[in-house]
Symmetry: C2
């Protein structure tokens, strides 16, 4: 097990009707003016936005707002938000939505007190040393951004999709998770979220670090729960218990609870980021295409941990041939994704002829000559994985 | 799943030689003077206390100190600490030790700014509304106090062993966990710690709350890891990987990571607290005696969750007769405890003739007419469990 720091100071308030507490929580964390950030119309239509505003009014907190954040959130919206936040003098960014909204709010929070271009943080030109407070009312369990210090933004001009980690400054001070708010998610979006949270665990689970039994078992436990609850929510989207389990799973999948002390991989995410940056597909759907291909590659090159996953989560019997076990894992994972309504190939994703050379070139331009850690991917390996996803 | 709040703001710094960071961490968290609290001579003999002091000196932090905290920590030591802390004007309590030391430090931290008797907090006469900061250099993985807002103190005069939960004020600001510091723990103390952390999970796992799949799977995962690593550390006390897994397990077993959304039980702890208060035995050893008896009782009265544990953690095959599965669980748990060198009966604990009527009377005086939640124990039930432990 490697040395590590685990720091997850967010207060998570979980359960039915918890969004009513948003005003008292924002006041408790010292907000004097709140800037609400949200996405499309669903938060408006469902009445959630109004409930949030009423709770802020009851707590005597003034607020301003910015809607219109899109999936795969973009830099131009961040600039708009930074301007608005500075003009209004808000000191707490309240994200009402899913990962895209939260990631935009985080980018604004880091950008407002910074004199330069916020994009500097995403390309490693500057470090976040201060930020406004961020808080969350979560509506889509997927990205895990409600518990992480990470944010991913795409630069429109160059289609660079870049991530930033600043756990000491960008972890939300509080996150409100009401599973009822996820009842009305379209099945496809639910499935994309489930895939995303599973892969957040995979990125930590697929490691060469030894002596990480507790990390392995926790990852496997959360994955087992996700798969079981996914079937239930597919049957009944208004199953509170299933929604609740999935919502919490999405958080623990990404706040660091899983995978402590492990060297992490992240190749699958990086391979996918190029796909969603170029073709603007849903991140979870892109992962459902990339990960079985990545895993098929690993069955040949480094099957050990894939075989362990096969046995402990997907009930593949143990056998001597680890490659066979790993391939059985790919098969069961694909079956599960298909059952959930997810694509498992570029073709099913609606991209008949992906520009693989361009994807490979952008990937290694953005992430360097070797990508990932479980097996360090050269451009030739990346190309092979993209081809396995056709 | 029940509504819940999860709040674990402690910064955990884990790994080899991490105690060297204690000075910079204390300074980062705003200490101006540190009061070191420790137990017997082992922290002195091992050189740890000197290393901690040197790290504080290097960070330019003055300190005072109080040693001599005993297992099953007592109120008189807390009063001594409160006096010293007030005299010295320290503002951060640094516990260097295990649960007893940390719990004493927490009691001092709550007591210093309080005008009344600190014991008020433990008997529910007052609520903690402010406390000095607490930080930890952990030497015994067991109590989980390094990640919790809980503390347990015994009043010498009345032998009341009472616990206090104040998660908003008494969670350590940082905890340093170096598994190497646990190499020299005597095997019996290692085993007691392992038992304690397992039972911290049991107290959450044994619940009637439904739809807690993710909690169940995480509990089972951590338990599975503990049992495996316990065997390894028994074979080789200086196995870093095993020590590391166990040290982290002790933390997650009690900081709330396991068992979110569950009504918790805690009957086994309360049954045991009376035993260690009256006979001054090691808490973990007391639990190894009480829990198999509690579980045997449950095999008859409410076997469902015991049978699930049997299957998923102790590899007992599924069968229709849940009582049989639960009894098989008891048998395997006892075998494991015995292998670790723990007693599994009052007799093996060295108490040939426990005063069961007194234990029952004290238990229900301190905790009310019904104890626990999985099955609410009446005095008759409590007596039956104590008798099963003979």
């Amino acid at each position: 097990m490697n040395n590590f720091t685990f720091y997850s100071p967010t207060e998570f308030v979980f359960g039915k009707e918890t969004e009513k507490q948003v005003g008292t929580l924002a006041a408790k964390y010292g907000a004097s003016k709140v800037m609400i950030v949200y996405g499309g119309g669903s938060a408006v239509r469902s009445g959630l936005l109004n409930r949030v505003k009423n709770a802020l009014r009851e707590a005597g907190l003034p607020f301003c707002e910015m809607g219109g954040v899109q999936p795969n959130p973009i830099d131009t919206k961040v600039y708009e938000g930074i301007d608005l936040c500075r003009r209004e003098g808000a000191d707490l960014l309240l994200a009402v939505g899913g990962g895209s909204v939260i990631d935009t709010a985080k980018a604004i929070a880091a950008g407002v007190p910074y004199e330069g271009d916020f994009w500097d943080f995403y390309i490693g030109k500057a470090q976040v040393t201060q930020a406004l407070k961020v808080a969350v009312v979560l509506t889509i369990p997927a990205a895990g951004s409600e518990g992480s210090g990470n944010t991913v933004i795409t630069k429109v001009e160059t289609l660079q999709k870049m991530s930033l980690r600043a756990p000491m400054h960008l972890r939300p001070v509080f996150s409100i998770l009401n599973p009822e708010l996820t009842y009305t998610l379209p099945p496809f979006q639910t499935a994309c979220g489930i895939c995303d949270m599973m892969i957040h665990i995979f990125e930590r689970y697929f490691t060469n670090t030894t002596d990480v039994e507790i990390s392995d078992r926790m990852c496997e436990g959360v994955l087992t729960a996700i798969v079981k609850e996914a079937y239930r929510v597919k049957q009944n989207p208004q199953d509170y218990g299933a929604r609740a389990n999935l919502m919490w799973a999405g958080m623990v999948a990404h706040n660091g609870t899983c995978g402590v002390g492990c060297e992490e991989d992240w190749a699958s995410h990086f391979l996918e980021h190029e796909v969603s940056a170029l073709y603007n597909v849903a991140h979870g759907a892109g992962l459902a295409v990339i990960v079985p291909a990545w895993m098929t590659f690993m069955a040949e090159h480094h099957p050990r941990k894939v075989a362990q996953l096969a046995n402990r989560v997907f009930s593949v019997p143990e056998e001597e041939n680890l490659q066979e076990m790993a391939l059985a894992c790919v098969s069961r994972l694909k079956h599960f994704f298909r059952y959930m309504g997810l694509p498992v190939s570029f073709k099913e994703l609606g991209i008949e002829h992906p520009d693989i050379p361009l994807l490979v070139r952008k990937l290694h331009e953005n992430k360097g000559p070797l990508v990932g850690n479980y097996v360090k991917l050269t451009p030739a390996y990346s190309e092979e994985i993209y081809r396995l996803a056709l």
